[in-house]
Symmetry: C2
Subunit: 375 residues, 2 copies
């Protein structure tokens, strides 16, 4: 367990990316050809900043909004960045979860936003703290949330928490940005309603920004993410998009639309479940069998991630350095916090390695943690 | 000529976009399928911020640089924005041509850069003024140039001007950003060497940023632009790209690579010439026959644009308003200048309308100009 392994033998729990065997290659190859043949004269040209018309219609139907409210973007990160640019270029306060998606923290920091946090832990979201922030000064411009298969913890807010959030947003007219990149990747249990949908159903349509992506559910190489925005935000975000990249890549959007319109999404999601479930189960099994009792971890019902709280004496950054030498990678949890927290936490993505790799990687990791405790 | 025409009858010289009959639909449909089948497991996933490896190699070969110096981006505008962000976020002076690409002016203004100009007129580039600016204070961080089929004028810098520019850049260690979106679309005459290539040949490799795109030469809906950067710029630009969109859309890059590697580019460029040449010739013919003698215009050897200097008494913004009523669109020239200039200028793009439309549109426009002079 202590020799340095060649890079090729490294097993990575680090990146939240699909494994190559997840892609519907044959179906996408057909859709790729067909979309060019059928609508190449449109899809090969520039287009509106909000994306390929038929895909906006498909998504509008799915979310029960007018297609003009759907902005399709070259990946969901750029949508998040455009919203941050629009809201926080003049400054202002943002509420995020702790921990939260690290790239959102970078985006807010880069623009100089005033970032405050609410804990997202084993007991869910700290709604008392959130209530205090929503009523306090300065008035927050945005609450950024990952309600479902949260990055990095893999947890979901309960239905009660979702309703409480809607109450709170309506009461304080708080704009909620729901980041739902992983929502379709449910392995166990029943789907929960999106916070944005609940808000809309109660008249809070102008308080909900919903973000999702086909990077996790179909293929990241398409770079198709999207936003559902309140009417008031559509114009400014489209103007920013035009200044940033003229129009998004229509061709992959048309190719994805062909795939979706042919009814391929639901069967493909079922196929993804057959890959993700045993990877998650294997990871949970090895952790249960071999982690020292001082460690705890989440039990995600879907998504890509599991969150590990290591024994308090272990520094995850230091552990990660040693882990490389024994051929296993993960992301130390500190980067998912605003400020200096999470020293003994780690994010494990079970999406990329095979079941066998998950087993071996988790065995290497648990052995290393035990070694560290014995030092 | 004075009634208001329905929008559908409008002929547009406004947007610099290809016409739908320019796209190699059948070949791209095949490439689209083949790229997914052959390399879908790579091209459908996330990838390096610099883009799809085989396309970077293809472009590196073409430009005589290592593939790592080529950054493939979702359109060339985003590359330009990333370079501006990197260089001018801390402030600084940029030299641009007058007139120049309007979106570059927006990008520099938005970040608060100190913009100064050198005239790009009938006599070429004002090199004396440029020399003064290069030696003056504050020291300029960048010279942004469109040497070939310049947007908006359609003109090219001569070979002598290119050599003089290289001398100047080397003497003053001035970083040159060469925007070459239209260079491959030559209709007449022989190709001129890129300024970046000339700089590199004389040891000024670290002073040249070259930008191009397949939006004009193949299809904008692919959103494939690229930068060739000095080694020192590669890392920072890739880091900015990662923060902006994780990785660019690999799928359309792989599909374009299949198209290029199959040897389709040169025959396709030849096909584009057969479409662009008669459109340009028709526009020049109608202008020569019907414009009042007080007007002058450029005679582009390629690209998409022609630049019109209207009689001095005519305000192009006002003319454009009236032109809409008679079913013709163009872009008033003022927006291509930093500061208040170009009131009587206009950019006409001959890329989109058919030969018949070019003729009718130019007849409408020239009649309107004559009407204005007679008022």
């Amino acid at each position: 367990m202590t020799g340095v392994l060649p890079e090729a033998d490294t097993i990575s729990f680090a990146r939240g990316i699909p494994s190559p065997d997840m892609f519907p290659v044959a179906l996408l190859a057909e859709s790729a050809r067909r979309a060019v043949e059928r609508d190449g004269r449109v899809a090969l040209n520039y287009g509106p900043p909000g994306g390929y018309g038929p895909l906006r219609e498909w998504l509008g139907d799915r979310h029960g909004v007018a297609p003009g409210r759907v902005l399709v973007l070259p990946g969901s990160l750029i949508g998040l960045n455009l919203v941050v640019e629009h809201l926080f270029r003049p400054g202002g306060r943002a509420i995020v979860e702790a921990p939260t998606y690290d790239r959102m923290l970078h985006s807010l920091s880069a623009i100089g936003a005033d970032v405050v946090t609410v804990d997202r832990g084993g007991d869910g979201l700290d709604l008392d703290r959130l209530h205090g922030l929503a009523t306090g000064e300065p008035r927050p411009k945005l609450l950024y949330l990952l309600p479902t298969f949260h990055n990095p913890t893999g947890t979901c807010l309960t239905i009660d928490e979702r309703h409480d959030l809607v109450d709170l947003a309506l009461e304080h007219e708080l704009l909620v940005f729901e980041d739902d990149a992983y929502g379709l990747l449910r392995v166990d249990g029943d789907a929960l309603p999106n916070v944005a949908d609940l808000l809309r159903a109660r008249g809070g349509d102008d308080l909900a920004v919903f973000s999702s992506s086909f990077s996790k559910s179909v293929a990241p190489g398409l770079r198709v993410g999207y936003l559902v925005v309140p009417e008031s935000l559509g114009g400014p975000i489209e103007a920013l998009a035009t200044r940033t990249y003229v129009s998004p890549p229509l061709l992959p959007q048309a190719q994805l639309h062909d795939f979706l319109a042919a009814g391929n999404l639901d069967p493909h999601l079922e196929f993804l479940r057959t890959l993700l479930r045993p990877r998650r189960d294997t990871l949970l099994d090895v952790l249960a069998a071999r982690m020292p009792p001082e460690a705890t971890w989440t039990r995600p019902d879907g998504g890509y991630f599991l969150w590990l709280e290591l024994p308090a004496t272990i520094d995850a950054v230091e552990l990660e350095r040693r882990a490389r030498d024994v051929g296993v990678r993960f992301v130390p949890g500190g980067g998912f916090f605003h400020g200096d927290r999470g020293r003994n936490t780690a994010r494990l993505a079970f999406s990329y390695p095979s079941v066998d790799q998950v087993r071996v990687g988790a065995e290497r990791l648990t052995a290393l943690v035990r070694e560290e405790l014995d030092r």
